[in-house]
Symmetry: C2
Subunit: 869 residues, 2 copies
Amino acid sequence: MAKRVYLFNEGGKDDRDLLGGKGANLCEMTALKLPVPFGFTITTPTCREFFDNGNQLPSRLEQEYRVALDLVEKKMGANFGDPENPLLFSVRSGAAVSMPGMMNTILNLGLNDEIVEGLARKTNNPRFAYDSYRRFIQMFADVVLGVDGHKFEKIIEEYKANHNKVDDVEMSAEDWQEVISLYKTITDFPQDPFEQLKLAVEAVFMSWYTPRANFYREMSNIPDSLGTAVNVQAMVFGNFGDDSGSGVAFTRNPSTGEHSFFGEFLFNAAGEDVVAGTRTPLSLTALQDKLPAVYDQLFETQNQLEKHYRDMQDIEFTVQEGRLYMLQTRSGKRTGRASVKIAVDMVAEQLISEKEALMRVSPDHVEAFLHPMVNPDCKRDIIASGLPASPGGATGKVVFSAEEAVEVAADGTAVILVRRETTPEDIQGMKVSEGILTVLGGMTSHAAVVARGMGVCAITACGTLSINDGAGTITTADGTQIKRGEIITLDGNAGDVMLGDIEKIEASNSDDFQTLLSWADKNRRLKVRANAETAEDAAKARELGAEGIGLCRTEHMFFEAGRIDVMRGMILSATIEERQTYLDKLLQFQHNDILALFEVMDGLPVTIRLLDPPLHEFLPHNEEEIVALAERIGKPVDEIRERTESLKEVNPMLGFRGCRLSVVYPEITEMQVQAIISAAVTAVEKGLKPYPEIMIPLVVNVREIRLINTIIDNGIQKVLQEKQISIPYKVGTMMETPRATLGADRLAPEVEFMSFGTNDLTQMTYGFSRDDVGKFLPQYLEKKLVESDPFVSLDQRAVGRLMEMAVTESRARKKGIKYGICGEHGGDPRSIQFCHDLGLDYVSCSPFRVPVARIAAAQANVGRELGDV
Amino acid sequence: MAKRVYLFNEGGKDDRDLLGGKGANLCEMTALKLPVPFGFTITTPTCREFFDNGNQLPSRLEQEYRVALDLVEKKMGANFGDPENPLLFSVRSGAAVSMPGMMNTILNLGLNDEIVEGLARKTNNPRFAYDSYRRFIQMFADVVLGVDGHKFEKIIEEYKANHNKVDDVEMSAEDWQEVISLYKTITDFPQDPFEQLKLAVEAVFMSWYTPRANFYREMSNIPDSLGTAVNVQAMVFGNFGDDSGSGVAFTRNPSTGEHSFFGEFLFNAAGEDVVAGTRTPLSLTALQDKLPAVYDQLFETQNQLEKHYRDMQDIEFTVQEGRLYMLQTRSGKRTGRASVKIAVDMVAEQLISEKEALMRVSPDHVEAFLHPMVNPDCKRDIIASGLPASPGGATGKVVFSAEEAVEVAADGTAVILVRRETTPEDIQGMKVSEGILTVLGGMTSHAAVVARGMGVCAITACGTLSINDGAGTITTADGTQIKRGEIITLDGNAGDVMLGDIEKIEASNSDDFQTLLSWADKNRRLKVRANAETAEDAAKARELGAEGIGLCRTEHMFFEAGRIDVMRGMILSATIEERQTYLDKLLQFQHNDILALFEVMDGLPVTIRLLDPPLHEFLPHNEEEIVALAERIGKPVDEIRERTESLKEVNPMLGFRGCRLSVVYPEITEMQVQAIISAAVTAVEKGLKPYPEIMIPLVVNVREIRLINTIIDNGIQKVLQEKQISIPYKVGTMMETPRATLGADRLAPEVEFMSFGTNDLTQMTYGFSRDDVGKFLPQYLEKKLVESDPFVSLDQRAVGRLMEMAVTESRARKKGIKYGICGEHGGDPRSIQFCHDLGLDYVSCSPFRVPVARIAAAQANVGRELGDV
């Protein structure tokens, strides 16, 4: 039987999987001889045992932790359940992967009616004792017994109102005693401390599957099987009096990355008071002023921890009667900008290597460098200010709840979520918001931490605003009312709230960012291309580091005004001659567009996909448009209507599109090829180096490719027989039907590249229509029937398996095929890791994702090298 | 270097792959000492060499066949190219698999202006010599030089008209000489016999890839790589005079299977005259009367051949100057009825074993026992009679060309194809016709042979009819006119043509057929189930031998009048309570329907699929229906319209359907399960043995199954907690998304059976929407971009590979899972072979395909056992 309980002096930071992050770090700090209240950790495998055992603690577990508990009592010189010399515990969850705010915590465990009196006597601080007891009852009832926490808040509020008290500090021991007896009217809890402990341990385990924990794991792709550890730690008290307090701090500024010790502190407060954001905390200067020795010790400790962990630390500490206690250390969450600055600075400080620096930056955070910021030169009508909790500039309609945010944002409307404070239940609403504004909280409040993690702009502690969600209004200090749906702008860097839509500027590039990207480029094997159709997009992509175009969707070129009618005329042509006159016009458009791409992408490959969508997409969608078109192109209305009708499809996604168009209308393909090759000829004549790659979409078998290759050859011959220029073109196929991937070995001899179109491949592998999946995918995500949205992160098990079969089997048949991915997954870091491992040659994504992909590609490579991933 | 040329005394019937069927049988007959004109065969690998060599004969080939030719000259006592003693050759194709009428033949090769005179002198029969020469020119020009054959026909017609001649027999040597000089005005051909031979060999090879040969191979699933052999055989002449002639015969009646020698003969005619059907042939009695010794020898020979080959033979022979020559023998094509009778008779005659008998019947032919026949008791308005070329009764609209047949039949309209005679170009039109009627031809004409092969009813040699395709009319002997599009009925057993739609009766069962089916049942491993929803269909299926229901599509039960509104009410319910009242009604309907199935299928498994189609399929499709429904169910029109709109989908095939409905509306699933289990309880109470199998459709992963299993358990509990009855139900999944097949190992622990829904699996693997594929699949088939329609015959390469992965991987995870197939492929013999080889437990098909599937399943098993397949 594996050991289930570890004392804090029995583990270390490498025991994260076994003891959870929190437990491992408590052990590590204990080993570093830092002032950590002693305790023990119940391992994460015990959590799995618990669930496998039908939600029952393993039979010998209590016996095991009682042994540990005895040793904690010895070390702390106090006894659990002893009224004369009581030892109290905090019981906290702690998984291997950080899940801040997601799991439930119980403090002051071990109090009961008798022991609280002993605590009052022993500390000679009855107010503290009864405050601690009421806190314990409140938490225990909420977390273990499932009593609605608001009921307790309400009792306190009513009590205060009846007794003319405003702040907690005004509450005396007697007041708390009365509150406790009121609490007892709404809840019942065990008086036996050991029963309390057992129930608390069970509650921690159970909280692993609360909906909010499930959601966080889903969002963060944390497997359910990890489980949580339980940390049982001797209590120290920040609410002991004025020489006590609680604080949280970062070893560097988590918003800017600046190398300065940065934190918040509340005197005479428990840790929960700081994190909850219900009182606005002080800066650490206040601690330095009042308890300089404690501050110095804290400063020394944080410095030691950062050097020891070689990363910026987020620490929690408590001061009890002028003595410092360390309660937690962990790698600190940070903004994208901060993560880059910290990583680059730490390389300069020789704390970490370039490769390690690369691994320190979340690819998604890179986007912060690309996001717009509020233009500082604009006139600002500042209606309120708060803490700059998460940087960036955001504009949107005011909404007052997470649900409202989800609802309003569903159609793409930008929203700003305005809340008194946020809770983990709000995560989904926060995710869809452009920005978050809270009245309460601080830089380390839930809103701030989560917003930074998400890379969403946020302002917290904007205390001058008052919210009336019922009426749907915010009132500012000067009485201005902002109504639900009104537009406001947040400057997450300055902490300013403004009315209306304020101009934003492109994210300023930073030297650190460029340094990091240069390390990424040095350290990646995967090339990064962009999906782009226009010269502007291509230029942006190249500026952001794209090494070519991986997907140019030629049909986009035909939707432009002045062209769509030519396209329609072509589709509606009755004879091949009529069609040819339209094709000749389209040829000219396409030639020019593609030439522009070759110019921008001079020297780099440009993958041009042949016409893909079903033809009905180009035709008019209603009678009015049909009549108008008939007039414009001089065709009978009936004929257009009939043709439009005849092209309609039941399931267009599985219909007459992709290379099927080339089979039936080879003349369209020939035109496209002529446009591509003639554009390449013109480019060469201009002294440029074009590298066209012609991509055949929606292939199911090699015969299609053979047929289309002959059409392509015809098109090329038509251009090149007139010109004595050699064009280094390639022909390849998009791999987007399961059948193509299952027969890749047969396709191999006929192609020079294969590009995985994982959007369609996912649709067909799942039988999920991207356009219709909204009817059930939300329920699938909610009920955890899928790990994550397979259109966002590549489904490695099935779609990935098809890709792997395709690569392995085609490579065995023919060497030298170039492999890429051009579905949306090409910009998703987890999918990029998969593509790297699969040995693809490039990923292709939207221009703004290119830097993200560069970092992700480097991390994929370095991660494998360092064995981190 | 492999030997490329085999003399007829160097091979035998087992050399079919090397020498083609015709060549192998010529060798075999030679070995049997039958009177076969000597010759040699160029092997099929030479054909592949030819194509690999850029359509060039291998360099040493001519040298090789000249050696053989010398030996043929010695044996025949005549010399190729020698005017004094000329030897002439027939040059024919012959692949390993029979492709009747598909390949080109050249006769009388070796004639030129000089040799024809020698032939006239030597035979003392100038008329014969010049007739032979003009035939040679005609064939050579047509087949080798590509001159339109009709030009020659026209010359003869004009010549006859100008010279008042009607029949060929009226043409003298001089007449033919004049015709020959007219021929020479439109074609040029080599005078050198060796050059003729070389060109003819090349032409035979080239004909392998003519469109009609391609089409035949495609239809018959013959691989392109087989290639054809070339048979070069000394000519004998049926057109030598009145003691000469040509005939074809079958060792048994190919229409009824009766054991009697059966054939046709034409005096003073070449073989081509008999097959072409331009002269109506005589029965063999005519030969017996005039040349009894020849007839006796022929009778003896056919008897010997049938015993030797242990199968009914189709033989070709020529009589020259009273001497019999055997030109070909092969297994004869036969009707379904004949194939069963012959197989069963031959077992009785101890010629073959029961297992061999099973392998002799084409599964498709079995349908002949199931097809309607014209009711013999009906009053018949017979407008014409011909030969009963292929049995069965058929009614349809008159069409005059294959193209017209395809066009009119496209929407399911029954057509009768009426032609003067059919040619291989007509195959596609014949395939879609209910029946075929020709004015010319005989029992062995193209129309007859092909129609029997296809199992299509046909009447040939209906000479009293005259056709005017231009006007679109048929005129009968008495002047009645039948117009294009008019309805006629064919009685393919009697050879009668009737006006209008005459009543048909079910195909009478035959003892032979039942005997064969009993052998099939003894010899198959695969179980055969039926896809059926109604008690009537289920009863028919059981009568035809179904061993259970493999797919009951529950939604079909809801489309009935009186139910659809309840279904709609359920879908449109605003509250769960409202929905429940509708569900309670549906529960009662479903209970009764399923109980009826359990009654019919007493003791056999019944697989019931949970609701599968998207809900919008049940809702009204236009405003009028919406308004009417609103009135009937008392809901606002707006609400119905809105809900209908909101359920619409872009790609319903990949949408909100299948088990996705169970996830979102578990109450529907629970109702269905209650209906199934309560019906089973009632059945048990009635003393029956129900075996319900609940099938979950459109699964993508195991989590769906786990969730739905809990819903199913709930439904079952609700029923069984009231009843103390044990119901032996199973729960399983339909395997129809690629993802399900790719993760079958994970599904395995949660299911008791897996049934491959190959319709959807094919759709998703190819990205082919069954509803839309008509826009491009015809071109795919025509251009040979697919081997065959993947919705008809299972695509073994990709869809089959997914099935194989699923079976292998799930079986490795859990033993005892039952595997089946319930897509349309479950009734397709080639797909059944695949399912057998894959080790599935059952196939499920439409009731009328059950006997076909029973035979096919037995053949799959026996074939592997005998090593034949």
